[in-house]
């Protein structure tokens, strides 16, 4: 049936194209059956070019008005505000250039639409103009590069220090685990070759002969104390994954056979984030959508969707196989007291494999 309908549709489309061409051909005087643009084509197409400029601007404004609220809220890490500033500075430059150049391009296409009676202005070169539009982008880009590199150095060069909390993010198809250094805040040595020790209870392959590893704590939900620097060490046991924490402006690939790292300091707890006006309105909007979707589900005899509460997310952002789209871990940022209380209740590696 569907094949039949699709075929009919395709035939109808072809016939209608054919008919439209016929009409367009017949509606024009006989002499002008040329397929080269004439003055009347230039008139129409030139005006459409101008209309297209309005469409591009309109689409931009519409998108911001309609979808401006889906963008990520303010960063929840200390380098995040630096990141956001750089982003908005770059964006202002981009918007400025985009607005001007699109205007010139489409306005010229409209203004100088061809007429048989006119001749173009022979203008092949102007060294001054070209120097100007080589030098100005160079200066603007130099500023952006410097600003960017300054931030990059700030974000990326991780210095080991005693105050920072060491956390390992461990990736596998298709879930995440986190490992804390425990009492000594030192992550024990690990390798995939140890994964089968202790009847498979050695979840991230800790080397049991390394004393630093015995007090390590392995969990399925990432808890972070607010205001403390966290140094993440990333590992993967099978294929490439990428630990992406959008609210913290943090991402690093997890590569089998090597340890990668990234560090940041969370500055807002999950509770604080839930009180953020942007998040409140976003969550309200999402819950309205979920309510509408639930009506449909209930009508089909399925369960309604649960209301959504905001949580930080860790997502996999490097294609890793069939369930890539569902490889996630919840992140909870809490006060140091709450964090200490939580971590005390977790089993250490030594306790777990007993």
């Amino acid at each position: 049936m569907t094949i039949f309908l699709t075929l009919i549709l395709l035939i109808l489309v072809t016939v209608s194209i054919w008919q439209v061409t016929k009409i367009l051909e017949l509606s024009q005087p006989k002499v002008q059956s040329s397929q080269i643009a004439d003055d009347s084509d230039n008139q129409t197409q030139g005006k459409l070019m101008f209309a297209f400029l309005i469409f591009v601007y309109g689409l931009t404004i519409f998108s911001f008005w309609m979808w401006g609220d889906v963008l990520l809220p303010n960063a929840a890490s200390d380098h995040g505000s630096e990141y956001d500033n750089l982003m908005w500075a770059t964006f202002s430059v981009i918007f400025f250039v985009q607005t001007i150049t699109q205007a010139l391009l489409h306005y010229f296409s409209y203004k100088y639409r061809g007429e048989k009676s006119r001749k173009a202005f022979f203008y092949a070169d102007n060294d001054v103009l070209e120097a100007i539009w080589t030098i100005i982008p160079t200066i603007v880009l130099a500023v952006l590069i410097l600003f960017g590199l300054y931030t990059w150095n700030d974000v990326m060069f991780v210095e080991e220090n005693e105050d920072a909390l060491m956390v390992e993010l461990y990736a596998q198809q298709f879930n995440w685990k986190a490992r804390y250094g425990g009492e000594d805040n030192v992550l024990g040595d690990a390798n995939v070759r140890f994964l089968q020790d202790f009847d498979g209870k050695n979840l991230v392959g800790i080397d049991a002969t390394d004393p630093n590893g015995l007090d390590d704590i392995i969990v399925q939900e990432l808890h972070l104390p607010v205001g403390k620097e966290i140094i993440f060490k990333m590992r993967s046991q099978d294929v490439l994954h990428s630990a992406y924490m959008p609210h913290f402006r943090a991402q690093m690939n997890c590569v089998p056979g090597m340890i990668t790292e990234f560090a940041f300091t969370p500055i807002r707890t999950t509770e604080q984030m839930r009180m953020d006006p942007d998040i409140i309105s976003k969550v309200r909007k999402i819950n309205e959508i979920r309510k509408v979707n639930s009506v449909e589900l209930i009508a089909n005899g399925e369960e309604a969707l649960e209301p959504y509460i905001f949580d930080y997310l860790l997502l996999c952002n490097k294609v890793c196989g069939a369930s890539h789209y569902n490889m996630q871990m919840k992140i909870i940022v809490e006060t140091e007291q709450e964090f200490n209380k939580w971590i005390k209740n977790q089993q250490t590696f030594a306790q777990f494999v007993q």
């Binding site: 569907t2 054919w18 367009l24 059956s33 040329s34 080269i36 084509d41 230039n42 197409q45 070019m49 297209f52 591009v56 963008l71 982003m87 770059t90 981009i94 250039v97 985009q98 150049t101 699109q102 391009l105 489409h106 100088y112 061809g114 173009a120 202005f121 022979f122 203008y123 092949a124 070169d125 103009l129 070209e130 539009w133 080589t134 982008p137 880009l141 990059w152 974000v155 596998q172 995939v192 070759r193 994964l195 046991q237 099978d238 294929v239 990428s242 959008p246 609210h247 991402q251 056979g257 999402i286 959508i289 997502l315 952002n317 294609v319 069939a322 890539h324 789209y325 569902n326 996630q328």
Partner: protein, 596 residues
């Protein structure tokens, strides 16, 4: 140099051999026929690639909903009409591979380099017609292998078009990494061989076979673009070949170039000491220049079409050549910007940020020069011209967001999100497709001796132009919201529920855009047989291909090859009655030749 040995026997070369059906239409050594073969194969692959994107767009807009069309086209991979996640990844992978390599590399550059290099420089044919033929047939074989991988038991390659190991190396990691991936790699290896043979031929031809008077600084910008593209290809494609060969070794012969410390499906594998990051370096050493291999020919076509239809010289001819060369050079030292968060040393990230943002300068020069070319022109808004203007528009829109992605810091949070998808589709996908369309509309009379219907061309352009922005503009928002690409659905994250309606908007635009391509296809096929017969120089263009007769024969010109006396852009030159002066017209007495 300019009168090479092959062209020495100028007179008799034109009609020296008899042609049978096989040598004329199948194993042809005539560059014009090979160009048509490339074009038709490329368009065929293009329609498959676009159709695939429509399938996964349906899934993204209405996740896990059954569609009859899935059941028909995907069969067992869409049980009850619901697309399987593995198939989603396979479609994304093959869509990317087909569009980047088979359509926008071979289809675009293969078609127009073959058609235009001999005709525009004034040569009887390519330096080696035989290698040219071999190049096309290798391309054809690689297309066939790639398509045949769609029919293997476990499905085609599904690791993304970059096929990063270990995902692509281990059949245990996903079904697509079995026979499908082997076929992908073999197909790509053959494709690279084809591309190298083609590129070598282009370079040799441009250097040796230019007609008398055709100095390098009189070459049309199309030829400059094809020439430089071919050089980039020769420099970078072999590196991809080495990556593919090493990956084949890892997959089939137990070596460990890219693999180390892997535990999968309850088993520790023997691989030790390799690194996936090495593969990323090798892949992107081609992968980034590849962007310019795709884009430069499109920009070359645009330069030619804009100048011809604006009836005005291209603004800043020498600056355009300089920027092509600058882009080509820089393109080979920026690959690391795809790897800012791959785990490589952050210091390298700084270096690559620097080189990457430098590319914005020659790109900006090109965009400004195009806009100035339009200024005070007498624009003949033919469909080809519209596509060229459209190219400049998407090149700017897409290029600007590159400033964000090329900045290592900003890349941290938008890397591999839909922001990237929006960026590269606009700047290289849509722009290069517009270049391809501009080229087809402009040189269709040269290829088939007939004109395409302009009104259908206008419909094709406007629907495509509106839909292209309609698809990719909203995608920036999804990316800035933090949604990763290559997700089968985002319904597992309630946080992204508010993106669902944007996805519907995008898919609707994509479907309309897809339908608009049927208009093009109809116009193309119909005009091939029933189009209005063309005059010799329908667009009143200056370049040499329009001095050749309409009918095709091996050798291009009856009698002598025209000699060249001026650059290609003497449009609306003061002191002349016509608003164009073909390159083979000698200078008038006292006329100054512009040295721009």
């Amino acid at each position: 140099m300019s009168t090479g040995s092959i062209n020495a026997k100028e007179e008799e070369h034109a009609h020296h051999h008899k042609e049978t059906f096989i040598t004329k239409y199948v194993f042809s050594q005539d560059h014009k026929m090979i160009a048509k073969q490339y074009l038709i194969t490329g368009l065929f692959m293009g329609f498959i690639g676009i159709a695939m994107s429509l399938l996964f767009r349906l899934q993204l807009a209405w996740p896990e909903k059954p569609f009859g069309i899935f059941e028909i086209l995907l069969g067992k991979w869409a049980p009850d009409g619901v697309m399987d996640p593995n198939v989603y990844l396979a479609l994304v992978t093959i869509h990317g591979t087909i569009m980047v390599f088979f359509v926008l590399t071979a289809g675009l550059s293969g078609t127009f380099s073959n058609l235009l290099i001999p005709l525009q420089i004034g040569a009887r044919d390519m330096a080696s017609g035989f290698l040219n033929m071999v190049s096309f047939w290798l391309f054809f074989v690689s297309c066939t292998l790639m398509l045949s991988s769609l029919f293997v038991e476990a499905g085609p390659a599904a690791a993304g078009w970059t096929v990063y190991p270990p995902l692509s190396a281990l059949p245990q990691a996903q079904p697509g990494s079995g026979t499908g991936m082997t076929l992908w790699l073999v197909s790509m290896a053959i494709f690279i061989a084809s591309s190298l043979l083609g590129s070598l031929n282009y370079v040799v031809t441009v250097i040796n076979l230019r007609t008398k008077g055709m100095t390098m600084t009189r070459l049309p910008l199309t030829i400059w673009a094809f020439f430089v593209t071919a050089i980039i290809g020769i420099v970078s494609f072999p590196v991809l070949l080495s990556a593919a060969l090493l990956l084949i070794m890892d997959r089939s012969f137990g070596t460990s170039f890219f693999l180390s410390d892997i535990f999968i499906q309850g088993e520790v594998l023997h691989y030790q000491g390799g690194s996936p990051v090495l593969y990323e370096h090798l892949f992107w050493f081609l992968g980034h220049p590849e962007v310019y291999i795709v884009l430069l020919p499109a920009l070359g076509i645009t330069s030619e079409v804009l100048a011809t239809n604006a009836r005005k010289p291209i603004f800043g001819y020498r600056a355009m050549i300089a920027s092509i060369l600058a882009i080509a050079f820089l393109s080979t030292i920026v690959w690391g910007h795809h790897m800012f968060i791959s785990g490589m040393n952050p210091f390298l990230g700084s270096v690559f940020t620097f080189t990457t943002l430098l590319i914005a300068i020659p790109s900006a020069v090109k965009a400004f020069n195009y806009i100035t070319t339009l200024w005070k022109g007498n624009l003949q808004l033919n469909p080809a011209m519209l596509f060229s203007i459209g190219l400049v528009s998407t090149f700017i829109s897409g290029g600007l967001t590159g400033i964000i992605l090329g900045d290592s810091t900003l890349d941290i949070n938008v890397h591999d999100t839909y922001f990237v998808v929006a960026h590269f589709h606009l700047v290289m996908g849509i722009s290069a497709l517009y270049g391809l369309f501009a080229g087809v509309y402009h040189w269709f009379p040269k290829m088939f001796g007939r004109m395409m219907n302009k009104n259908l061309g206008y419909i094709h352009f406007w629907v495509t132009a509106i839909c292209a922005y309609g698809v990719f503009f909203p995608m920036h928002f999804i990316g800035m919201a933090g949604l990763p690409r290559r997700y089968y659905t985002n319904t597992n994250f309630p946080y992204f529920d508010d993106l669902a309606n944007i996805n519907v908007v995008i898919t609707v635009f994509a479907l309309i855009a897809g339908a608009a391509q049927i208009v093009f296809l109809y116009n193309f096929i119909h005009s091939m047989f029933y189009g209005k017969e063309t005059e010799q120089n329908p667009w009143q263009s200056n370049t040499l291909e329009w001095t050749a007769p309409i009918e095709h024969f091996h050798g291009n010109w009856h009698g002598k090859i025209p000699h060249v006396h001026r650059w290609a852009y003497d449009y609306s030159k003061p002191g002349h009655d016509e608003d164009f002066i073909p390159q083979n017209i000698p200078l008038k007495e006292g006329e100054e030749e512009l040295q721009h």
